[in-house]
C-alpha cells in the first residue's frame, strides 16, 4: 500500500527542518554580532572585501542601468507626451528599486559565493574545528564580521549606485535626448523624497544581511570535500537571490501601504 501523501509530507518536513536550521543559525549569527569579543580586524577586512572591492562591479551595473532606464522612460513617456518626466522616474526607479535590488543581486554572486566557498573550505579541511579547539568561537570570528560588514556596507554601496545610476541617466538624457542638464538635475533632486531613500537603504541593509547569513550558513554546513564546497557555493547564490527578491517585494509592499 503506497500512501501518495508520504513523499509530499517528507518534502514539507524537509523544507520546514531546513528553515528551522537556518533560523537557528541566523539567531546565533545575529547574537554573536553584539556579544564580545568583537573582532574588529576581521570586520575591517570584510568591509574592504564586501564594500570597497565591490565598487567597480556596482558602479558599472548602475551606470548602464541608469542610462538604459532613461532611454526606455523617454520612449514610454513620449507615448503620453510626458518625456519631461524622465529625471523623476529615473531617480525614483533607481533609489527605490533598481539600486538596492541590482546591488543585492550582484553581491549575491560576488560576496555570498565568496563567503560560502571560504567558510566551506575551512569546514571541510577541519579549520573550523581547529578554531574551536583554540578557544575561539567561529561564529564570532568568521560569521559575525561578515554579517556586520555586509549589512553596513551594502547601504553605502547603494548610495554610490544611486548616484552613479542617476548620472548614467543624466548623461544619456543630456547627450542623446537633448535635455537641459541643470533642469534635469533640479527635477531629480526636487522630486526625490526622503522616504524613497529610506526605503532603498532599508532594503540594502536587509539584502546585505541576507547575503552574508546565507553564504555563511551554506559554508558552515558544507560537507564532503570540494564537491560539497561547490554545492554550498551554488546554493548560497541561488538561495540569496531568491530570498532577496522575495523580501524585496515584502518590504516594498510594507512601505507602500
Amino acid at each position: 500500500m503506497i500512501n501518495p501523501f508520504a513523499p509530499v509530507g517528507r518534502v514539507v518536513i524537509g523544507v520546514l527542518a531546513e528553515i528551522g536550521r537556518f533560523a537557528a543559525f541566523v539567531g546565533r549569527a545575529a547574537a554573536s554580532c553584539f556579544a564580545p569579543p568583537i573582532f574588529f580586524g576581521q570586520f575591517w577586512r570584510q568591509c574592504a572585501q564586501v564594500g570597497y572591492f565591490s565598487l567597480p562591479v556596482i558602479g558599472l551595473t548602475a551606470v548602464f542601468i541608469g542610462a538604459a532606464l532613461a532611454l526606455n522612460i523617454y520612449v514610454g513617456g513620449a507615448r503620453f507626451n510626458a518625456e519631461q518626466f524622465v529625471p523623476n522616474i529615473v531617480v525614483l526607479g533607481i533609489t527605490r528599486e533598481l539600486g538596492p535590488v541590482l546591488a543585492g543581486l550582484m553581491l549575491a554572486g560576488r560576496v555570498s559565493a565568496g563567503i560560502a566557498a571560504e567558510i566551506g573550505t575551512m569546514r571541510v579541511t577541519e579549520q573550523i574545528d581547529a578554531m574551536a579547539t583554540l578557544s575561539t568561537d567561529p561564529f564570532r570570528f568568521l560569521v559575525a564580521p561578515r554579517v556586520l560588514a555586509a549589512t553596513l556596507c551594502l547601504p553605502l554601496l547603494v548610495v554610490a549606485a544611486d548616484i552613479i545610476g542617476v548620472m548614467g541617466g543624466y548623461l544619456v538624457a543630456v547627450n542623446s535626448l537633448h535635455f537641459n542638464g541643470v533642469i534635469y538635475l533640479r527635477n531629480t533632486f526636487q522630486f526625490l523624497e526622503s522616504q524613497d531613500v529610506i526605503l532603498g537603504l532599508t532594503k540594502a541593509a536587509v539584502f546585505g544581511f541576507i547575503i552574508a547569513t546565507v553564504g555563511s550558513y551554506q559554508g558552515y554546513n558544507s560537507q564532503g570535500g570540494a564537491l560539497g564546497v561547490g554545492r554550498a557555493t551554488t546554493n548560497a547564490v541561488v538561495g540569496s537571490i531568491v530570498l532577496i527578491l522575495a523580501v524585496n517585494y515584502l518590504i516594498t509592499a510594507f512601505f507602500v501601504e
Binding site: 579549520q127 574545528d129 581547529a130 574551536a132 583554540l134 578557544s135 575561539t136 568561537d137
Partner: protein, 254 residues
Amino acid sequence: MTLPKLQLVGIKKRLRGRQVLDGVDIDVAPGKSLVIIGGSGVGKSVTLKCALGIMKPDAGEVLVDGADVTRMPREIRARVMRKFGMLFQGGALFDSLTVWENIAFRLLYADNVNRTEARERAIEAMRKVRLTPDFADVRPVELSGGMQKRAGLARAIIAKPDILFFDEPTTGLDPITADAINDLIIDMVKELGCAAVSITHDMASARKIADEIAMLYAGRIVWRGPASTIDSSGNAYVDQFVAGRADGPIQAVV
C-alpha cells in the same frame, strides 16, 4: 593512584546509520601518554572529536578533572576546553593567515596577547618544534606536509595545555622527521606534564611515545595495557594489528 586528567566513559556515536563508537572508555593521568591504535575508519578521529565537543556523542560522559563537560553550559565548557590542545590529522592550518599568526592564533584572538609578544612566543614555539623562524611570515600552503605538521604542533602547544591530542602525528612523514616529531611529543608531555592522547597506525611511533596503548576495534576498546606488553598481549586483535597480517580476526575492508 592519581586522578585521571581526562576520562571518556561509555562514549557512543552513530554516523550515517553506522554505530561508529559503541561505548568507548579511556582515561589518561597527567604526565602520561596514551596511544590509541586501530584500523582506518574505526573511529579514532571521531573519538577525539567527541572528547573535544566538536562532535556531540549520543551517549556517555567526557570527564575533565572529574567534571562532565558534555553537560556544562556552553560558556563554562568553553573555559574548560581551554585546557585542550589538538594536532589535527590534516594540519588544519588557517590558510588566510601566516604561519606565525596560525601558531599564535589562540594568543592573538582568545587571550588578547599583543602582537609583538604573540609573535615572539610563536617564534619560540617554532624553535621548539624545530621549524626555522624564516617561515614565520609565509602562508601555510608554502610549507611541506612535514612542516605543516610541525606548525600544527606548535599551535597546539603554544598555550601550554593540560591535555594534548595528536591525530596521526607521524603519518606521511619520512622516518627521520617522524622520529623527531616523536621526540617532540615526548618532550612536550614531560615538559608540560600534560596528559597526551595520540592516534597512530605507526607501531614504531606508538612504542616510542606511549606509556599505555589501547586498541579500538568495532566501536570499543578491545585491549589496553602498558606499551611494553604490546608484544605479549595475548589478544588476537592486537597481535594481528602489530604484526600487520591480513588474516586474523580483523577483516581488512577492501
